[in-house]
Symmetry: C2
Subunit: 531 residues, 2 copies
Amino acid sequence: MGKERSEKEKVGGGEHNKRNMFVSCVVMNSCAAELKLVLTALLVLCSIATLFQILPSRFAISASDLRFCISRITTTTTTTTTTTISPLNSTTTTTTTIAPLNSTTTTIPLTPSPPSAQKDQVADNGVIKRVFNPYGSAAYNFITMGAYRGGHNTFAIIGLASKPLLLYSTPTYQCEWVPESSSASNSTFSTVSYRILPDWGYGRVYTVVVVNCTFSEAVNGENSGGKLFLEASTSGGGDKNLNITDRFEVLNESPGDLNMSLFSSKPKYDYLYCGSPLYGGLSPQRVREWIAYHVRLFGERSHFVIHDAGGVHEEVLEVLKPWMELGYVTLQDVKEQERFDGYYHNQFMVVNDCLHRYKFMAKWMFFFDVDEYIYLPPKNTIKSVLDSLSGYTQFTFEQMPMSSKLCLSADYGRYYRKWGIEKLVYRDVKRGIRRDRKYAIQPRNVFATGVHMSQNFAGKTTYKTEGKIKYFHYHGTIAQRREPCRNLLNVTEINFENVPYVLDTTMRDLAWSVKKFELKTIGPKLQNTRQ
Amino acid sequence: MGKERSEKEKVGGGEHNKRNMFVSCVVMNSCAAELKLVLTALLVLCSIATLFQILPSRFAISASDLRFCISRITTTTTTTTTTTISPLNSTTTTTTTIAPLNSTTTTIPLTPSPPSAQKDQVADNGVIKRVFNPYGSAAYNFITMGAYRGGHNTFAIIGLASKPLLLYSTPTYQCEWVPESSSASNSTFSTVSYRILPDWGYGRVYTVVVVNCTFSEAVNGENSGGKLFLEASTSGGGDKNLNITDRFEVLNESPGDLNMSLFSSKPKYDYLYCGSPLYGGLSPQRVREWIAYHVRLFGERSHFVIHDAGGVHEEVLEVLKPWMELGYVTLQDVKEQERFDGYYHNQFMVVNDCLHRYKFMAKWMFFFDVDEYIYLPPKNTIKSVLDSLSGYTQFTFEQMPMSSKLCLSADYGRYYRKWGIEKLVYRDVKRGIRRDRKYAIQPRNVFATGVHMSQNFAGKTTYKTEGKIKYFHYHGTIAQRREPCRNLLNVTEINFENVPYVLDTTMRDLAWSVKKFELKTIGPKLQNTRQ
């Protein structure tokens, strides 16, 4: 990668340890499934061994090349596999050892023979022909998160791809549709297939890819079922001699399952929230306030998709549960993506998955964070605002940054019982700073999205939303488990740590009605939630 | 949450992420424990083998994961291989197709069946557990170029590794020595193993690694033969769940082959030239001039190692041949490294291979290019200069930049018969420009090297070589097949294209004696060489 990037720890952004994630996968499997996997893995390896007896030895598979075969097996078992492959007729031994990062090691020998590593050769004219022997694998070609139909003949596949592959090579992607019944018709290939890289050049080992595949005519038009395959070609990225195409199933439509009317019907929801992955030690009380506030704001025809990258611990799940039971919240557990080193919990992949997964289920989609509160000035409703913006595919709105520690002296002795939006009442009014904006889209016109805006959509965008909609941002409060109030003030203006603040009780004034709404809707069950 | 972090570009290279939490389990285990485990596992494997006929086979190795197996097959054959893998009894098909980038395709089917991709699952509490399915491989873990002994108990392995692996993870490297005769003694592991990244943060898909392995005592001390293996561990780089160790042979010492006296004897050569990889349409005449000039300069106890990355075409080979036949030149064909996308024809790998390959064969090693001419001012000889610098492991020397197109009017009508150093006589004297320097080292004290200097050596370095040694640089002449003279001048100073030049006939004055030396040494066979 031409440019190395160093990441700064986000201030107050939580003490999440990214490295802890790899523990999760192993724990999930039941013992029975594990045993079966181990046994079947051995079967496969033996089958391969048998196969090798038949193949001429110079076509044999290198042990190091089997790494990935084994890696898949190891992922789903708690034992460690060491593979020793002895040569049939060469003097070279090559071994791949795969150790899950948190367990002890056992060793299982294998049989297939690797080829001898190639050796340097001296030509007749004295020239030394040097050879370069490659081993193992350092990154997957493609990792799928989701694949979604976008209409009668078009699909989107969301995943990660190797970043240097995309930076230095031109991998290509194509879709193939295979009908369920082989008698029906032959498989067809997409005529237009392009990739979108929505993450602004971020990414580390992996970067986010949205593949858009369009076929020349409707696929599965008879609703008889079929499968979508993605073909991902490296175009010589890791080895200029080879164009390697991995072909794999990404979507399976069972006969009768497809409802084409979905794409033209009125969506189920008016407003859908797509959250970035949550991680770290989140405050249950802050999350409780946030969800109650926004369910009240967006109303009955709204839905919230929360993505858990490790932040939704037991206490946070408790405050979400009542809203999940009422159908307001869907929780997506995306912890598994932590295996793959991308940008910031792979947030660009997660929001794009959300976009395409719920594309036809909502008229408007909002993208903002759980320390941010949408605010509509008096005389506006969410409907009136969005109706006035319905000519735009996308609009963005401005930020009101709030202090995460300045509170009112008047609340002294009672602030620990008050809500965050109630007690944090000082607004940062420093000028000349470009502040992030947040945005909403009409998803049917959008092909890929980002964190602060979409850059891939049909239609118009507007930034002129002042006086209609904005958001209050309580940065540094969400991953804070102790009381946020640090300084109690009784002034309307103050310069604190070189930043000018003014008293702003806009949100404080709404807290009472949000509390009332929560009590009315889900009862008192969350009254004893802790910070 | 979800706020994008501001990322700063790092200046320079070699800095890495600090993921030191991953520790290779494999390294920790004693050999005895391992052996026990191997045997136990073997027993288990054999017992289970008999049951395999009965077991269902829906868990099998993913075809895409076999990609690398197949890629190796393709690499070692000249035919093109497309591999189609059909499922045994599952509904999912996964296929890997490998097409060499420049030939037509034939098809060879393989048999192992892929597993179904994992599917998302909805838990009892309504949480959707998302899965991420990885496929294929985008980069090798390690690619070897050479492995060399550096003494009775130490080795250097030179190769390429995946760049994001090194940038975002902390892959580890260890060596294992396995004696030829299994009765002799057990294999031993290196006690100190460290990696040097000599390429200043350059690199693309791959970056250069020099692994230095030192054992606690002499290996192969009895000269009974043995093999060196490198164990390269990913430490979770491409998949945080897995620490994958590829183990492969890098060096093979046959019984009786080792000559330990090599490391303490007087080297065969006084001066050895290590060239960067040559590529492009080089001018045979320029190369002819360069080699004649430097053989004369460095004398009988010198040797030149030329690396061909595609630049040594038939006509260039012709002008090198006479010197190869006299033993002055070794030509290394390194074209195969072009398969692996690194920095500038992987030049940092090539010079490090040269360093370690010839470490004990020369007292001094020089690193400069074939458009550069070493110059010693009058009253200096190469011996007197290097003797005066013998207290230094490394010295660098300054550049005299020469115009690649300004010639003398006096040469009008005859310049196409004159040599480059003879007719290109205007020196760039622009001030305030930092110009590259070139360098020489005493290789026995050097662990890794670069293009403009080494940063990994024992001992001292000096830059104070003015008046002793410098080099004339004819930039832009070497890959130029037509006549370089474009402007004929009869002045001693000129401003040309905003650059001041002065007449400098230092090299011109030497041309006659170089021509005479060439004729005397190899005869007239190169007299008709073309530009």
